[in-house]
Assembly symmetry: D2
Homo-oligomer: 439 residues x 4
Amino acid sequence: MKTLKIVTIGGGSSYTPELVEGFINRYEELPITELWLVDIEEGREKLEIVGNLARRMVEKADLPIDVILSYDRKEALKDADFVTTQMRVGQISARIKDERIPISHGMIGQETNGAGGMFKAFRTIPVILEIVKEIQELCPDAWLINFTNPAGMVTEAVLNYTEFKNVIGLCNVPFDMKQGISKQMNYDADKVRLELSGSNHNVFITDFFYEGNSVINEVVKSYVENSEKTLAMNNFDALSYPPELLKSLNAIPCPYHNYYYFTQEQLEKNLQEYKEGNVRGEVVEQLEKELFEIYKDQSLDIKPAQLEQRGGAHYSDAACSLINSIYNNKQDIQYVNTLNNGAISDLPSDCAVEVACVITKDGPKPISVGSLKPQIKGMIEVIKNFEKLTIEAAITGDRDLAITALSSNPLCPSTYKAVEVVDELLQAHKLYLPQFNQK
Amino acid sequence: MKTLKIVTIGGGSSYTPELVEGFINRYEELPITELWLVDIEEGREKLEIVGNLARRMVEKADLPIDVILSYDRKEALKDADFVTTQMRVGQISARIKDERIPISHGMIGQETNGAGGMFKAFRTIPVILEIVKEIQELCPDAWLINFTNPAGMVTEAVLNYTEFKNVIGLCNVPFDMKQGISKQMNYDADKVRLELSGSNHNVFITDFFYEGNSVINEVVKSYVENSEKTLAMNNFDALSYPPELLKSLNAIPCPYHNYYYFTQEQLEKNLQEYKEGNVRGEVVEQLEKELFEIYKDQSLDIKPAQLEQRGGAHYSDAACSLINSIYNNKQDIQYVNTLNNGAISDLPSDCAVEVACVITKDGPKPISVGSLKPQIKGMIEVIKNFEKLTIEAAITGDRDLAITALSSNPLCPSTYKAVEVVDELLQAHKLYLPQFNQK
Amino acid sequence: MKTLKIVTIGGGSSYTPELVEGFINRYEELPITELWLVDIEEGREKLEIVGNLARRMVEKADLPIDVILSYDRKEALKDADFVTTQMRVGQISARIKDERIPISHGMIGQETNGAGGMFKAFRTIPVILEIVKEIQELCPDAWLINFTNPAGMVTEAVLNYTEFKNVIGLCNVPFDMKQGISKQMNYDADKVRLELSGSNHNVFITDFFYEGNSVINEVVKSYVENSEKTLAMNNFDALSYPPELLKSLNAIPCPYHNYYYFTQEQLEKNLQEYKEGNVRGEVVEQLEKELFEIYKDQSLDIKPAQLEQRGGAHYSDAACSLINSIYNNKQDIQYVNTLNNGAISDLPSDCAVEVACVITKDGPKPISVGSLKPQIKGMIEVIKNFEKLTIEAAITGDRDLAITALSSNPLCPSTYKAVEVVDELLQAHKLYLPQFNQK
Amino acid sequence: MKTLKIVTIGGGSSYTPELVEGFINRYEELPITELWLVDIEEGREKLEIVGNLARRMVEKADLPIDVILSYDRKEALKDADFVTTQMRVGQISARIKDERIPISHGMIGQETNGAGGMFKAFRTIPVILEIVKEIQELCPDAWLINFTNPAGMVTEAVLNYTEFKNVIGLCNVPFDMKQGISKQMNYDADKVRLELSGSNHNVFITDFFYEGNSVINEVVKSYVENSEKTLAMNNFDALSYPPELLKSLNAIPCPYHNYYYFTQEQLEKNLQEYKEGNVRGEVVEQLEKELFEIYKDQSLDIKPAQLEQRGGAHYSDAACSLINSIYNNKQDIQYVNTLNNGAISDLPSDCAVEVACVITKDGPKPISVGSLKPQIKGMIEVIKNFEKLTIEAAITGDRDLAITALSSNPLCPSTYKAVEVVDELLQAHKLYLPQFNQK
């Protein structure tokens, strides 16, 4: 009998119930036989709680999916069809340091493409490359769906520093933008297609099609009038874009662009949170504690509603949808991080971009975007370039390069600060950064 | 009530019954209210014959499609939704000259991207630009689906020399290659997707997916063993590719590549045909005469089987399918000539390429191909470049440039011959080439 | 008899004596017959002072150069061989506004590629385009040597928005960097050749050759140890680059990069100057007053030593040297702003770059730089892109675009500030910005 | 005391006296202490003859240059400053096969970028890579000046398949074109500068400067009138270019373009020579015999006049001039084969191109050419691409790729012929092609 084996690394994550729900809902098309939830020993307590909830969910759905908890990655990977990665090297406390240390020097931490994201990349990339090595040995035809942040850099690291090509980076931002704007416009989101331009957390909607017709002008017009409200839908503060900028871009920035277009205001807000002890990582830590209390409830056998409120919701659902389209060669359009291969002419062919792709059994096939217009080109290039330097520093452990990378980031107020922040973060995360501590 | 108006310029073509059949078969999805068949006075007899057959076909199908015959292009274009062009400037006798004159100088005529195709471009491009001007005035939102050869050059001319962007060039070659190879491989052609690389009649299948899996290795292997038989399916002589070439390309050349890979053998064959008075144009002339005899039969009310044998079959069906996908925003994948926009990194962004596209209401969106591998790059570039020169000569009427263009074509044995052939063809087609005869 | 006519627009500038000295020193090779100093009526007093000094200098040198003062640009341009532009639209008081207004909103003014430079471009580009139109009519073979800031943007505007190609942008920064570092390294500056990468005021020395040997490693090493001292040579505050950055760049940033690498510190310093009423423009205003007092002295007949201390010294000497090399087809290497034409692969072919060029009678021929390394690529691209947007806004008078341009500048702390600063500067310079005030 | 050591591999070549004369003439600037002439045992007789002549020449010039004959390449290379390579793997008889075998199949042999050149590349590239390995070990800072044909491909092979970057390919074609046209135009060749576009033996003069002024229009006009006469100056048959082509190119093709623009006529001529037993290789063989008879004359102590008549004259003088400019960091402009590095935007950055370069102690620095105009772009790309495939086949010994490479060459009349020609040449040169005979 044909098997379909999914392995989720970082299975003890609070997002797992969404993933399980996604698989249950798609069972008819995606007949999973084994779902392996893998974690490390330090995560045993969480994995047991989440794993038991997953089993109750499957049982309630009355489906023959075998949920297996494992602390042995290699055992789990053997013959897998899909591997998803959602682990957090250094746990939530590492993220809190990623955010608190930069801000203590007057620099926004930004856990994805700022100083914090840089160190998340430093901790995560070596582990992912290890996992890829194991996949190449144990399940070389599997697809690796990564939604560990920084998802773009992790994808690019695999594409550029290994021979493994079956990797896709996934983010909920495009999904949430599509949903949010559709709601705002009273559109049926299923009839919407986006032209996305950029890379992860550095992406613009540069065209918006409803029932096949370009309505970007209407969307921008509405956004000009409502950007505050629209943005309020996600876990960002609602800063309203000046109409002048939006009209000139004729594109919709992603929520993370707030950091770049409103650096000063974000910095002030982050400083306030820092003083009050509720930077995003600290908020998330508390949210997760509450979620796990809920998950423990033996009578719970569905995804609890509270998970929706956690930033990053829909990540897992996007992953299920992506796996489904690959497995069934659906050739539908999804928004993922993949090899540029010329899709955006201005960016290097070998970098990772986040664009609309046709999803096939052979992976995502990006639709050509062509040249970026100058209104967004500088922003996309400067951050993409920061990522390239960061990935190289993550691989080589080159401290000078790390400082240079950070000083090239638009959020860095001064190269002197870059030195201080890099050094303090290197010290704080020493345990997880062996590449920087050789010799 | 909503109308859907199609205008077919060159409506008196022998291909029209296929087009009409295609529309009839898709009526449920594509509820055409008016089908205008337009031609010039010289084509009145043919248009009457074909138009009457079309009406009998529609009547038999019992559909409320109004078939209107017209000799007034402007009247026809008013408020059209789709315009298809299949006219032949100078009629079949011009094609015969395109083929006979070069071969009389020892040069292959090649009616699409050889000397013959160059002059077909010279005759056709100015007329198409005139039509585009009328479309911009009378039905600016219409889509122009061109299947007049040379379809790639005509498309590129519109893209580069007008402001009109709703143009698509269509050819039956990708369709026929897909069908032919699928048959050879015992594949269901509906489950096949191609990666196409190149431009019209200068295109390679560089990847071949069956049910989403890449099977290009198997296809090339089978082609190595059977290329003679496979090629025999179309209107080209069956020349078997040396296995060494196919293995090294790891791609399938299109039938027109015969001219370039087997120039000497094709030249000999063409010389033979020239002497016997049956160059392709002469054969087609005879075929058409026979077809029109059949069309005249008042009892005929379906597309006659004999049309299948005419080279170029499936052109019209491909057009119907394309129109359907645009109209209904199907987002399926078809193979058309469209703006490169970076899809093939090695070719200019503003040229026309023939690649796999997602077909949407907003037109075709090419899937990125990336860089061409060097095994096929030289061939694609040199012919694409010939086309660019040819288009410029077609617009400017620059005889020196025409000679330079032809001398850059791999089929041209010597620049001296280029001078002779250009001059004799300029003379022969004088009536249709006013741009070369100014002052 | 052969004439050689130079026209200097903005002839009343305090720099003119340096220019005159340069021409006198090179008279043997560059036998100027007429030097026209042109200014506007508002500048009559200054022009008279400077013009008389120029005449005394020429007289003392005993050379047959005719110095002509003119307030009629067209009369002056007739049959010119070289035209230099060093005018300041809006005089020094406009520059003071360019600096004080942004800083009053907490944004660095930066008179070349910050908010101030943007408005200098807005005021200057339309005037330059007018001059170009006159040159095309009155002296179409003349070379236009522009050293009005922002020199890079002005050059790019002429290259992209006119048909006139004989334009070169000139800056003293490369010259001063070469001299400064040579002095630091105890090198004979005449035996030094630079590889420059970037655009005006956004340029790095990416290789440094002494007697033909690459010594960039030694130069960077020395710079690491002495950057404070080296930088102190020019009119920038001495901020010492962190060694980590310099080692990783393996390149020498230009002095203006201080603004980008030390934004926070520069901002604080600029705020201090703002409060004390001595922003750079104000300092320059005072310096110029003193210079003109000196120039008035009828016994002065050489360039006074005090001019050396004025920032921007050597501009005029660089111009003389450039004119000399063009006139005599010297084929030596100089560092100018010219059409990229692929010299830096990562930047658009049609933009202006500042690179090492072979100077010929046919103009500067850039030496290929190839790809930029990622350590400097992001910085160069983001500012180059800001310039492109700025130039387009200067031509079109599009306020939205001006705001978008400024918000893309790394010195802009927030898009909200961009709106405020643009609006206040538009108001302040209203008189000189007719393009923004139409309808 | 400072030494300057030159090593000439293939020292027994008939060209060596020109090289020696060049060194003697430049002794004041280029004070060579040791000139090593290296050859293989099979070449002992020739090396002794040439070596003795060299010694007599040096003695007559009364210079302290030590001429050393050696059969031990490693001994010779130790501490060399410059290495020149002019060896012919397989001797002149191999060249004769390169020419006779293709023509026996109706294909032009063309010893540089046709079938013959392909096999010369196959024999030569592995030997050059071996030499490079030795240089890297024994004299890593030396410059390798290669004038073994195919000089472009050999240079590209070193650049792309080794870490050694100090390689320059040299050809007499640009020098001869410059001289020939200057003579035709009554120009002083020393005041001429060319813009060259292309690669070795596939190069066009796209601009021509006399005393710094562009005179390409005049040159083309004159060439239109005199191309027959001008071309007659070199060892090619005088075929007159049609004026139409030259006017449209507005560029001067190199003599080797005769093969591509006049393929049919060249083929007929080559067939005639083949039948008469005087293909170029056979003519050269006879010429060389005569030269060596002359060289033997013990009273001869200068370069004999007869050497001038040998095609390829000036190669060695160009080499001396290049070495001189590198040694003395002259920064003059010469025309060499070097890394593209973006100089020609349309060609890959990592390929070898033949362009105008500033010659420095750090090697040649190409002057940017920018984009190729379409009139010459196709020709340059298709041959460059053939070269890339050929180099890869030379390294890998992949017969399929060799066939594919040859079938992509415009001189190949049919892929069937490519198979025959490749197989017969592989057999004929078996001894020198170990890479094709593995397993």
